[in-house]
């Protein structure tokens, strides 16, 4: 599945991934392939993206939103820090 990570200032990442763990406002959850369509607000916390090759990417956010539809993940984040 595909992800696009957007911050208000620029696009942070886009590409093929196998999973992404996000800090949902009602608790952390992980989006894997064929996840049901969802729109969720995010609380502050860590995001972990597992890329297609197995490599992972982590950063923390202050708040944000995630939308999943037909294996397209859009992650809108604010206050990104500790980007590696």
């Amino acid at each position: 599945m595909n992800i696009t990570v957007l911050s208000p200032d620029k696009e942070l990442f886009s590409g093929e991934i196998t999973g992404v763990k996000v800090p949902g406002i009602n608790g952390q959850f992980e989006i894997l392939n064929n996840h049901a369509a969802i729109v969720s607000a995010l609380a502050s916390g860590g995001v972990r993206i597992t890329k297609a090759g197995g490599a992972s990417m982590t950063f923390s956010i202050e708040k944000g939103f995630v939308e999943v539809l037909h294996n397209e993940v859009s992650l809108l984040v604010q206050g990104v820090s500790d980007l590696d």
Binding site: S40, A41, F65, L69, S74, Q78, G79
Partner: protein, 305 residues
């Protein structure tokens, strides 16, 4: 005649050096414009996505629960005008048009509030502050004048939050933004936009019709937390984004306007130099003719003797 010649020569020189400055300023603005445009483009996907989400939520909502504390229409007693101008001048009528936008809107819509001293102008950018700082009836506040130094979201969001907090606390009942809308390098408009209360967000009646051709379909999303809570989270973010868009637009417009103004100034200087050159050549020719006739006259006088 000699003194006159020198005078014209000096003027040509000074006009030429002015022209060099205006040309350099045009180049600088062109470069800055490119960067400002890039910033707008980079912000756009985020804003688009956010609006898309808003639409998705609204099309899944019942008609009447789509209101939030930012859409509350109250009797307008206190007005906040946000005046986004540039920090520097020399860009034609750009800043004065934005300022005029504020003044006209206040005169047309909020004349009573102004008379009661209930209009506040928040200036972002020095030029607006220069104007309103001398007009105390507008209660200018200058806490964010220097926002233009760094137009990142992290800097702009707190300003948006401050405005939203003041609105929900009832300090202001209406907030409008006057800014320079960027169309392209040559065209910018001064525009006044209502910021708060947000125009009542209504579930789109056409959403059903459009849903078929869009891939976002109605009623298949899981919303977490609820739709209403989600909306309450989303709207402040959209408002922050809107303020950032206004600032970035103004920034790009400023450079566009300066580019046009400096281009005209350069052309103007060219015309003046041309005219001065003609004057100079005429004066020079006159001097030569006069000298010649003096010599000829002198020779004739000698011959006659």
């Amino acid at each position: 005649m000699g003194a006159n010649l020198k005078e014209v020569r000096d003027r040509i020189k000074s006009v030429k050096s002015t022209q060099q400055i205006t040309r350099a300023m045009k180049m600088v603005s062109a470069a800055k414009l490119r960067r400002a445009q890039m910033a707008i483009q980079q912000m756009r996907p985020y804003a688009n996505k956010m609006n898309e989400m808003l639409k998705n939520i609204l099309s899944n909502m019942e008609a009447d629960d789509a209101s939030s504390k930012f859409s509350a229409e109250r009797e307008v007693k206190n007005v906040l005008m946000v005046c986004i101008t540039s920090n520097r001048g020399l860009c034609g009528g750009f800043n004065s048009n934005i300022i005029k936008g504020v003044v006209n809107t206040v005169n047309e819509k909020y004349a009573e509030q102004l008379a009661a001293g209930n209009v506040t102008v928040m200036c972002i950018g020095k030029k607006g502050m220069d104007f309103f700082g001398r007009r105390k009836q507008y209660n200018p506040i200058d806490t964010h004048v220097n926002l233009f130094a760094d137009l990142t979201f992290d800097n702009i969001a707190p300003v948006a939050n401050e405005i939203m907090d003041a609105f929900s606390a009832g300090e202001y009942d209406a907030v409008e933004i006057s800014y320079g809308r960027f169309k392209n390098a040559a065209v910018q408009f001064a525009e006044v936009e209502q910021y708060l209360p947000v125009e009542t967000v209504k579930p789109d009646a056409n959403a059903d019709a459009n849903a078929a051709d869009e891939k976002s379909n109605k009623a298949l999303y899981i919303f977490e937390p609820g739709k209403k809570e989600l909306l309450e989270q989303l709207i402040p973010s959209i408002l922050q984004n809107q303020l950032q868009k206004c600032c970035l637009d103004t920034n790009a417009s400023e450079h566009g306007a300066r580019m046009t103004a400096m281009d005209k100034a350069t052309e103007n200087a060219e015309d003046i130099v041309k005219e001065l050159k003609i004057t100079y050549n005429k004066a020079r020719q006159e001097a030569i003719t006069k000298e010649l006739s003096e010599i000829v006259g002198g020779a004739a006088a000698l011959e006659g003797a």
